[in-house]
Amino acid sequence: MSDVNSEAPTVALMDQLPDASIQGQSPLFHADLATVAKKGPKTGGVVFKEQALMGQITLRLNAENAEQLKAAEKVLGVSLPTQPLTSVESGDVSVRWISPDEWLIIVPGLKAFDVESALHAALSGHYQVVNVSGGWTVFMLSGKNARDVLQKSAPVDVHPAAFPVGKVVTTVFAKSSAIIRRAGDDQYELVVRRSFADYLWLWLQDASREYGLVVEA
């Protein structure tokens, strides 16, 4: 095993976004949600919106390492939620507890590389920062029947008593999985994997049918 060369970077960093002239295509791009939103119903029990092209960053570090926590806080503007199943939000940065040594940070897409770089610059010791923006997309589900749709899809308890605003769980969702965060009273954020997005979109349309589905662009 070769020794760490303090000169050379120990991890490879790359700004993965092209310039603004090239339009990115979110996983549900081809579903043309804009048209669906325009033509579809305006009222219903469930409201769906793809929050496309966000910046997702996986951060892994030792939650007992105060120095690392401090460094992360400095970059993110909020301290990492170390309580299991919690999340924090500050401005356009939100952080979800995923595992005792793992967090999912979501920022506006254009900010991802800056945050990624800043984290690398600030952190030391054993940690991992991975830009996973292309691998995930965010579905916002709201409305008075959003909870019913969740109950049809996931085996976790989503009753308000067990699922307060801010709680985040990674769980089975239909036959895929999702990171579910309660963003507001009737508002849920689902972070889902790109390759499953079509399936989950199909599933959600089906599960919402009886309540009426409103698509927002």
Partner: protein, 94 residues
């Protein structure tokens, strides 16, 4: 269907989120190359498979992806305790 307490998430979750990984506390031999075929075979394949209290590994596969240990009764399916990797069980067969 089991309701399993994940010691990392700090709450019970449905069995669908977990995978079972068999008997716990089987350590990989420190020096595999000096093991006989019999010793290596025992490590890989031979199991207690008890009828009664069983210490086993589960992983919270669809959740936090952490592995942990469970002491479970293999007849009544009661889960007696859940403990983290590297820890020893408190509930043991007599």
């Amino acid at each position: 269907m089991f309701y399993i307490y994940c010691p990392y998430c700090g709450e019970h979750r449905e069995e669908e989120e977990f995978h079972n990984h068999g008997q716990a506390h089987i350590e990989r031999p420190k020096d595999p190359d000096s093991c006989t075929d019999e010793e290596w075979g025992n490590y890989m394949f031979f199991r207690k498979n008890p009828k009664g209290l069983h210490h086993e590994i589960w992983v919270h596969a669809a959740g936090c992806r952490k592995f942990f240990n469970v002491t479970r009764h293999t007849v009544t399916y009661e889960i007696k305790e859940v403990y983290k990797m590297g820890e020893q069980p408190k509930v043991v067969a007599e």
